[in-house]
């Protein structure tokens, strides 16, 4: 398979790469087995024969540090980041992301100097596909709140690749929201590299759109680093949600927590794959993973696959998975007080999300509360 360089930026090269991907030898099915996701919808939604005008999404950096349309190439990033990023790219085995990255000719480099940032990825020109790459660096000891809002409309595919380096002692809380119109699809790939005593807490809210997928890879490279993933996937109609995480404990005393919940109505489906790897000779790592799905209709489908690969003896790891329906006794109890079945469902769905979102930073509440209420209602009513 041809490797795509980060310097690849000519339309011709990209089109050539694209054609290779459409060759009959290219098997998507292997990938599908891994993700349980109907990838045909993602990968063949865009034809290379259709005209595409620009390949870069609009990024609005709300703090005003970067104006819309500003693009800084990798050459403006610190050298060690370039080196690090390129080496990471070589190791990626998720060829879907690599394949979609082919769209992205440049990076936004975000030196996060304030303690909170909000980025909206949109597509004002309503093109067939947009791709955006972001590189974030959290300096030593800094504490940062980053909100990323992927809200493509009438776009067949919006793909975003974000790499976050957390320097020693830094802390990040990241809120990612997929909020798309019905025909749009969104793929976000997040890659975290955590240094000593750094902490990253991620909230992944997949709220709407034909298909959304968050793929997370976290390298817990520094001792006592901490990573937490809290995923909430809401689906109705024939929507599909996907969460794939690979958390690699590469250092002693590192800790990770994964909690993913999908709530599905109608014919919606979700695929949650959680993979935790503890490398050999790592001491006292802690990793806990719980993947849950609640189905509100007979036609909804959920796939959960929790995985642990433990290479060391001195670890404390657990994983679990459940797929079920709403508690009918609870539903009846709430209805017996006068609330309608749909309202009762909505209350139970909201209750199910409470544990997941209990530590969400107050700075994110204005963005999330009304949205969640709206989309939980949509899912409850179907």
């Amino acid at each position: 398979m041809a490797m795509i360089s980060t310097k690849t930026n000519s339309l011709l090269e990209l089109a050539q790469f694209w054609s290779q991907r459409l060759s009959p030898d290219f098997s998507l099915r292997d990938h599908e087995k891994y993700l349980y996701t109907p990838l045909d919808a993602i990968s063949f939604g865009i034809s290379p024969k259709e005209p595409w005008h620009r390949a870069l999404g609009d990024v609005v950096f709300h703090n005003g540090y970067l104006a819309q349309g500003d693009v800084l190439g990798m050459e403006d990033a610190p050298a060690f980041l370039q080196e690090k990023y390129l080496s990471l790219r070589q190791k990626e085995d998720d060829f879907l992301c690599r394949y979609n990255l082919a769209y992205s000719p440049a990076f936004y480099y975000l030196p996060l100097r304030q303690n909170n940032s909000k980025i909206t990825i949109a597509d004002s020109e309503r093109r067939h596909a947009v791709a955006t790459s972001l590189l974030c660096y959290i300096p030593p000891g800094a504490e940062h709140y980053l909100e990323i809002h992927n809200m493509a409309q009438e776009t067949r595919l919006s793909h975003c690749h974000i790499v976050v380096f957390l320097a020693s002692g830094s802390k990040l809380q990241l809120l990612l929201i997929h909020e798309l119109d019905e025909p749009s699809q969104s793929i976000v790939h997040l890659h975290f590299i955590l240094s000593v005593e750094s902490q990253a807490v991620v909230y992944d809210l997949q709220l709407s759109g034909k298909l959304s997928r968050t793929s997370i890879e976290a390298d817990l490279e520094g001792e006592r680093s901490f990573f937490s993933l809290n995923g909430l996937l809401l689906g109705r109609g024939e929507e599909h949600r996907d969460s794939t995480s690979l958390l690699i404990h590469r250092s002693s005393y590192s800790e990770s927590k994964t909690l993913c919940l999908s709530l599905l109505n109608n014919k919606a489906s979700s695929a949650i794959t959680g993979n935790i790897v503890v490398e050999p000779r790592i001491r006292e790592a802690k990793a806990h993973q719980l993947l849950r799905s609640l189905l509100l209709s007979d036609d909804a489908k959920a796939f959960c696959r929790p995985q642990l690969e433990i290479g060391s003896h001195e670890v404390n790891c657990s994983h679990g998975s459940s797929i079920g329906e709403l508690d009918q006794e609870a539903l009846y109890y709430l209805q017996s007080r006068g609330v309608s079945k749909e309202e009762a469902r909505q209350l139970l769905l909201k209750a199910a999300t409470a544990h997941l979102l209990q530590d969400l930073a107050p700075i994110f509440l204005p963005t999330t509360q009304e949205r969640l209420n709206y989309y939980l209602k949509e899912v409850a009513y179907g």
Partner: protein
Amino acid sequence: MLTIQNLHVRIGEKEILRGIDLTVKAGEIHAIMGPNGSGKSTLSQVIAGREDLVVSQGSLVFEQENLLELSVEERARRGIFVAFQYPVAVPGLNNLQFMREAVNAQRRFRGEKELSSSDFLKKAQKVMHDLGIPQEFSKRSLNDGFSGGEKKKNEILQMYLLEPKLIILDEIDSGLDIDALQMVARSVNSFHNEKRAFLLVTHYQRLLHYIEPNYVHVLVDGKIVESGGKELAEKLEKHGYDIYKNQLSS
């Protein structure tokens, strides 16, 4: 207020209630007593509208409306309240937030203006104060981590806030110590008036020491086998339910 005629109810293939007749008027307190498995809770739940109970025969009328045509929530909005024997816990759903949703759902049905958060909070805090219920109830999740006694108190709190007309207390006395039982009984007595009716479902006479019923009915094997005044409860306390079981088997 409530008229039940020849009510037959089954769960799956098993018939639980086998021809119940009962009339409850506004202002009355009726006690339904019976041994385990006699159908007491089924009677409570079929009035509430539980969907897995199948009414195969008979009628259930509340204030001239056929209850069998109404859903669970529609019955509640018309003023029927069942205090559950085992109230359900819902972690993550704030107790008071739920009660406000329920109160406002009923107010909407009656065409009344919904209560704002602050108005509802004031009302709930006053009721909790009057009932001697700790204010921390308002911060906890619905019945989550509650002791048996706390759950029953929470049912009483809901009853006060929802202000129903027909109140069915399904073994409200089970799991209560004597102080909690007295508190619940005091609350029920002060809530009772000429416009409200109560149906007390219980195994034991002890609840009836604190809440005086107008009528006592003995339910055995899905049928009301005897009705009378409060003296019937005393008779049951002395002789138990065996006399009825023997009658039915012979």
